[in-house]
Symmetry: C2
Subunit: 312 residues, 2 copies
């Protein structure tokens, strides 16, 4: 018999979905509050939830064997002061489609002047300004994992050419050309859009730096939907204020929520999207959990295991 | 020897592109002004340009044999008082990709709350409202010609299911289910998005009527990127004002430019995009002309001929 602690803002949804799946040999307890783990979690060997909640409950789970995170990013669980004597799996393979809607939504809004036309309408103006087009443009992907692969496929659908920047991998058929360190600036040269979907890692820290931003053409648009640490925020503000870069759409930040006084709120041509690019729908996440639970019962290797050292 | 009158707001661009193609047996004259056709057009057997300009020049072209319109819509040339003693070809097969960027740009802007998030940012608010998604939604296409076919393919890429409403044709593999007259309301029932790309025809007049709008779910979004006559404007305003319909994005209108006092400028949840959905890029249009000119020289049938009676 296994016992699962559901520790999530959407605890009720997860409980309902798991009970509906009628999994064998499984008992569940559910709460939104990490402090309740001290009672509820005593004999739980499994846990599912958001990494910040789970990190607070970790000391209260003596029998813990496997944790399924409901997010892709698991930084709160990677703190070296925390235990690592369990299997950690994260949510993967489900965010690509949602991230693709986010990225192409903003790329199209940019080319199609959706905000400008809205403002023109408020002013009662028939705005016939010729829109731009994605077709024929160059998109550069910083990171080509499961999310980047999905972005590349959609970019192809819109007639774009695709560059990928990775440590070494070259496995996505929709990437026209791959670049690897130290060729970051060659990668950036001539891009129309730079899209970052990198996880939070030590060697991705400020990968979008002053030199990279200076290499992008002045008409380029930056989208950061990975993690905030990938960006030199000061260098971006300078590039936008001086007009050396046309625009930026940022979903993630070094500090979230973005503090009230932060200059990003009022930097020209910068859009803040408040970490909503890839929403976690419990219906999707639960598929990952169900698959992994069945693997556990069969004694198989779980999918999407996180390496605590590498961080992904 | 043929002589071509270029009569276009972008006369210089077209002249440059045609001269660059070094077509045999062709002389060109170019102007933006229809009234100059009386001098320039005397010995022209060919003409290329925008339908409104061409319609004014028609009486001044005694040798006219073939007209290549640079638009898909050729209504100004279909006026029964005008001559029809020439071959009329329109621009086709090039707007689907652009129209796809327009339609999915606005569908994604709607699901992703792009306007609301922009307004939240102006107010300094970290807006974590969960976005919607295209995946799994039902899109209904009013008209499945070359443009509708392209929309259907993009919809599939985003994981949507696709209904098509046509007079009789069922040739697009990306349409999951076809509907034909008189089953318009069955077609509309349960749609998340209704997208009209119909041309201006007598039997498409007010095809989007009160009954159709009442059949759509309250959360549905209407996009009209075909022609203004397809829509009962009064019925739409009532549906939006009463909240029976979630939103509308209109590119085309019965009167264009939309008059300053028109209620559409200030109808809630209605976006006006000023007939910019499928911009005509001379580089695209010219491909159609070059292909047709070579067919003319070889004595072949020209592509995209318009039937003056059917109107397309």
């Amino acid at each position: 018999m296994h016992k699962l602690l559901i520790l999530s803002a959407e605890a009720d949804d997860y409980l309902r979905l798991i009970q509906a799946a009628r999994l064998p040999d499984l008992e569940c307890v559910a709460t939104t509050a990490p402090e309740q783990a001290i009672d509820l979690g005593l004999d739980c060997d499994l846990a599912l939830g958001e990494p910040p909640r789970l990190s607070r409950a970790l000391p209260q789970l003596p029998r813990l064997r496997w944790v399924q995170a409901t997010w892709a990013g698991v930084e709160p669980l990677l703190d070296p002061r925390l235990r690592r004597d369990y299997i950690l799996t994260n949510a993967r393979g489900i965010f690509g489609v949602l991230m693709s809607e986010y990225v192409f939504g903003y790329l199209l809004a940019y080319e199609r002047h959706i905000l400008q036309r809205y403002l023109a309408q408020q002013a009662g103006q028939w705005d016939e300004t010729q829109p731009g087009t994605l077709r024929g443009k160059q998109i550069g992907l910083l990171g080509v994992g499961s999310i980047g692969t999905e972005l590349a496929r959609t970019a192809r659908r819109f007639g774009m050419s695709v560059r990928g920047y990775t440590r070494a991998s070259e496995s996505c058929p929709d990437v026209d050309r791959y670049y690897h360190p130290p060729n970051k600036l060659t990668f950036a040269s001539g891009l129309d859009y730079l899209v970052c979907v990198l996880p939070h890692l030590n060697d991705t820290r400020q990968i979008i730096d002053r030199a990279l931003l200076a290499t992008l053409p002045a008409h380029a648009l930056l989208v950061n939907a990975g993690r905030g640490n990938a960006l030199d925020e000061t260098a971006l503000v300078e590039a936008l204020q001086s007009g050396r870069l046309a625009g930026a759409v940022l979903d993630v930040f070094n500090e979230e929520p973005l503090p009230p006084g932060h200059i990003f709120w009022r930097t020209p041509n910068l859009l803040v999207t408040s970490h909503t690019a890839a929403p976690t729908f419990p219906e999707d996440i639960i598929e990952v959990f169900l698959d992994n639970y069945r693997r556990l019962l069969r004694g198989e290797v779980l999918r999407y295991q996180v390496n605590f050292e590498l961080g992904y």
